[in-house]
Each structure stands twice: as C-alpha cells, then as structure tokens.
C-alpha cells in the first residue's frame, strides 16, 4: 500500500499520461463523464456516478469496424486498426469494475470480440472506493463492496491523502511507473473509513433489496407474470437506461457512406427499448413496449445469470434509478415481484 497527497494528483496524472492515454471522470458542461485527460480538463473524483458508465472506454458508443472502398470498379476492404497502445482508466468505481467483468462474459468468450479484447488487454484499471454512497446505490445486492475496489489498482480517498494499492502485475507495473510520487503506507489507514462507509451502506434505502427468485429457473414464472403489463406503462421507450447502464452490451451494425472515402461499417449501441431493436426482414419479434420492457429485465436478472453461472448483468450502480425520465428502474421491477411474490 502506498499513498499520495491530493495536491499531487495532477502530477500523478501528468506522469501517467506522459507516455499513454489516461481516461478519468471529467466535468464538462455541468456533467461528469469519462474522457481523456489533458491539462485543460476539469477532473472530478467527487461525483459518485459518471452519467455514462466508463464502459465506453472498452465498448465505445460507436466504433468503425472496417471501411469498404471502390477503386475504379474494384472493391477493397480496409479493417480498422485494433487498439495497440496501453492506457489507464482512473477512478472507475467498484460497481463499474464489476460492470466490465459482465461485459467480459459477453465479448471475451468465443467468438472473441477482437476490438473489445484489444482494449481490455491494453487497459490498466485504477478503481476508486466510494466515500459517500447515495440513495440510488444497491451494489450490495450484487455482492459488491464499494470500499473494496477491484481492477488492477485500488485507490481510496481518505482526508487529504489518496491511498494506492496494486492488485496484480498490471497494477504493479503502473505503480512502478509512478513510484517517484508515492510513499509507503499502512493498510490500516483506510480501514476506519471503510467501516464508516459500510455503515452508511447498511442505511441505504435499497440496503435490504433481495434478489430471491431471480435466476434461470424463474424463467417461465417471471416471463408469464402479468405484473409486466402494469409495470411498463410509464415507459417512454427511450434508451436512457440502456445507454447509462454499465452492463448493457447490445449493439447494431450500420453502414455510412462517406462519399469519396468509402463506406464505413460501424457498430453502435442499441437499446432493447427501441421499436426497431432486432428488427428483421419479416418485422420485429417484439411488437409492443411491454415485451421490450420485459426483455430488458428478464435479460439482466434471468437469462444472463442462467447462461453465466448465476452472474447478474446488473451491478446496482443506480444510474437508471437516477436518470429514467419516467422514474422507472430495475429496483421497482425487483420489488414489484417481491411484493406480489411473482404471482398475480
């Protein structure tokens, strides 16, 4: 365990960014999102959740896959270059680290997503413990301890210090890079704060949220429940929940004709809330919003765990709770089934 004074953070960032990209929470136009560091940007480590989760560091909202060009009548394909430079993501929250693990389950299994894999391979995650959990947080329900960060390096902000603990080789490597700024410190230095924060977590409104009954076996009962009909009605069919979500991984593939410089085939985030999601030649297999709405939560709480050894594709970051224009969210869904015992 090491530590560094908060005033030295800029120096730290400069040092990291000297020979590689550094992504971290940046305040721009009143909102905090992850972005590349530069002297010009305003770093914000206080805000609990970035609006967009950091997932788009690995799985960008849009990325070009390859470009098709035409030279006097002949087609030729230019694949997009894969990420081949190391980079660092600083300040990613424990829940979002878990979110990345969820994405790994999707993109790092066969067939491997080379674009995603390349980014993961070159990334070093510096994960930051939470100091002030908010009422929207329910990471505990997914077994996440918001004061025990994962990733490659774990950091805590305590008083005027930032405590730094490498968790693996990647972490060690980064630590060596910035050693000159770090000083040795005791593990115990963070224990007190950890305890305090854990107390707060116990008091959160969603502290006792239970996921009982949400698993692969529950498929039919949940799918056929008519609670959905009641739940979905306020849904505006926008993509806010999916686009701020750290685990939503659906994407669409589209072509863009740039004219002179060829046709770009790119992929971009898609939302199961959209009416043309998985649209096929014959039309759409989900014809109404109830079905789309149900799909999202069934996927996160039933289908995904069924296929991934019980791992949910929700990490309780609370972004959807905070951002849904119609005040819907996954918690309301989970509770609704609890209260009604899944029946009705």
């Amino acid at each position: 365990m090491y530590k560094i004074e908060k005033e030295k953070l800029t120096a730290l960032f400069q040092m990291i960014a000297a020979d590689q990209e550094l992504f971290l929470p940046i305040r721009n136009g009143g909102q905090v999102n992850f972005g590349p560091w530069s002297e010009a940007v305003e770093v914000d480590l206080e805000t609990l959740n970035s609006v967009k989760s950091p997932k788009d560091v690995f799985f960008p909202q849009s990325e070009n896959l390859y470009t098709v060009k035409q030279n006097d009548g002949h087609m030729c394909i230019e694949p997009e270059e894969l990420k081949n430079q190391d980079f660092v993501v600083f300040g990613i929250r424990p829940c979002d680290v878990k979110g990345v693990e969820v994405l790994d389950k999707v993109f790092l299994v066969d067939p491997l997503d080379s674009y995603y894999a390349a980014r993961r391979e070159h990334a070093t995650l510096v994960s930051m413990a939470c100091n002030e959990p908010e009422e929207t947080c329910f990471c505990k329900a997914f077994g996440i301890d918001c004061v025990e960060p994962g990733g490659d390096v774990a950091v805590w902000r305590v008083g005027e210090e930032l405590y730094w603990k490498p968790l693996n080789e990647k972490g060690e490597a980064l630590t060596d890079k910035v050693k000159s700024l770090l000083v040795e410190a005791e593990e115990s230095c963070v224990a007190e704060q950890q305890a305090a924060v854990r107390k707060i977590v116990e008091k959160l409104p969603y502290a006792d949220l239970s996921l009982d009954g949400w698993n692969g076996e529950a498929l039919d009962a949940k799918f056929n429940s008519d609670i959905w009909e009641k739940l979905y009605t306020p849904c505006l069919a926008c993509g806010t929940c999916t686009f701020v979500c750290p685990t939503c991984q659906c994407y669409d593939i589209k072509d863009y004709d740039t004219g002179s410089s060829g046709v770009q085939r790119y992929r971009c985030w898609d939302s199961c809330m959209y009416s043309d999601f998985t649209m096929m030649a014959h039309g759409n297999n989900r014809t109404n919003q109830m079905q789309r709405f149900r799909q999202r939560f069934m996927h996160k709480l039933v289908y995904f765990p069924a296929n991934n050894g019980g791992m949910y594709s929700c990490v309780g970051c609370g972004r959807c709770v905070a951002k849904c224009p119609a005040s819907l969210n996954i918690v309301k869904v989970i509770k609704a089934f609890q209260e009604k015992g899944g029946e009705l």
């Binding site: 009143g30 849009s62 959990p133 908010e134 009422e135 043309d276 709770v321």
Partner: protein, 319 residues
Amino acid sequence: MQELVNRAGELLADGSVARVLGWKAGDLSYNPEPAYFENAEALEQFVYNGFCGANLSKYMIEASKLEGKTLVFLKPCDTYSFSQLLKEHRVDRDKAWIIGVGCHGKLDIERIREQGIKGIELVQEEEDSLKIQTLYGEKELPYQSVMLERCYVCKGKEHRIYDELIGESKETDTGERFAGVAEVEAMSPEEKFAFFQRELSKCIRCNACRNVCPACSCRKCVFDSNKFDSAQKVNVDSFEEKMFHIIRAFHVAGRCTDCGECSRVCPQGIPLHLFNRKFIKDINELYGTFQAGEDLETKGPLTNFTFEDAEPGIVAERG
C-alpha cells in the same frame, strides 16, 4: 391531494371514467411515476407533489385508443400540450375527462443535487421550503430555488382546456422567458459554436427528449425510419448531434408549447429548450406572437404565411 383522490374515486365508482391517469408514489420520495389507476385500492398509491413534473398529456395518445374515458390530471402547462395534440387529431377529446390541477411550480431533483445534497432519504415540502433528510444530515432549501427551469418562465397558471379544476396555483414566473436565447444570440459565431458544441457533445442520443415530447408524436420518427435514409441510433459525428436536434426543433417549430419536458428528462442536462425557444422567439418577432396550444383554431405559423413576410435575408440583417 386527497381532494384529487376522492374525486377520482367518485368518477371511477359511478363509471364516468374507466381509469385514472395520474402519478404513483415512487420508491424514493422524488421519483413518482406516471400511472393508470383502475380502482379505489390502486388510488391509495396516487400522489401529487412537487416532483410530479411529468406531463401526462402525451400518454393520452395511447389512452385515446382504450375503451371508455380516461380521467387525466393536467397541470396548467400540460393543458397547452393537450390542446395542441387535440388540434393535430392525436388525442380524442371524448375519451378524456380532464381535471386541471393547481401548480406551485415543480421541483428539479438535479438542481437539488447541484446544491451538493447527496443520499436523499426523504424530501418534505413545506410552505416555500423543502426539508431534506439525507444520509449525511438534514438540509433545508427554499422551494423557489430548486424548481424546474420551465417554472421560472411559466406561461401562467391558467388551464387551457379542462372539464373541472381542483386546487390552487401559485405564480412562479420570476424569470425572463427568452433571456437564455438572447444570451446566446448575443455571442459571436465562434462563441455560439463553442457553446453548442460543448452542450451537444454530451448527447448520448437516448431519445428521451424526443420520446417525452408531446409534439414529437410521430408514429415513427424520421430518425428511426429510412424514408430519408436518415435513421440514426447514435451520434457518430458531431454533425449528427446537430442534425438531430436542429431537425427535431424544426419539426416541432410552431407546435412546441415550450412545456420544458425535453430539458427536464435529458440525462446529460443539455438545455434543449434553447432550441425550441429560439424558434418560438423568432416566430414571435417575425410573424407575430404565437403560443402553441393556447387555442384550437389559430393556424400554426409554419402552415401559414403573409404576403409581407420577412425575407430569409433578415437573418443576416439582424446580424
């Protein structure tokens, strides 16, 4: 509020309406959701408070297709949206039982958070103030300091269309409606460009602004259809942010009642009303004051003209 519940109960009981469209208490004190209530029991969850900003008029498009009448609670500004939708044949007046509810201005949870308030456990509305219990202690704020932007430039607390009225209103329009637009207009082209670039670069194309908008009532938006091969799911290039927001604003120009829902729901806090309100300001200045949704007769400014209209060159002349 109890008055609303009682009246709704009566109308449900005597069969005047088949359902009630209102707001249902959320699991946090600031997130009530739009909901239907079919019976008295359900109505126990009915709530009407400072966080009921959601404009229910758009839900009436679907409600108009249901059997029987729907009782809908509309705030003064919501009624503008309803009558505009009525003018465009998107809702069925005969299927609606409109109770106009009083309004003291609605609260903006984002503004509350901007005050550095975290871990909100309970929000209590008192006369002119908010008592907020948080995990990190109790806070108190003047009600007037954390309202939705639209409430500071309220069009007035008069309902434009209703069957009955319940509850008192309080004027909240302390701001100048077009000040924000004028501020941008006063900038140099470079500043304007930088300003909107900064704001729009945040856009994640979640379509919340479009889907919540009562004027964006198209069955299929041009940005979802291939009619123009303009379908877009994401802003790959900064141009596409502009394209989307300019065209959206243009499509609702002369129809937008300035209900402010777009700005309320934007997860990135983009001041989207600055687009619509720019058109409203121009229309007022060039073609005479016009307020969409004010009545059912007046021709919309873009489906109308005079022989003496200003030439497009005026944009340059105004500088």
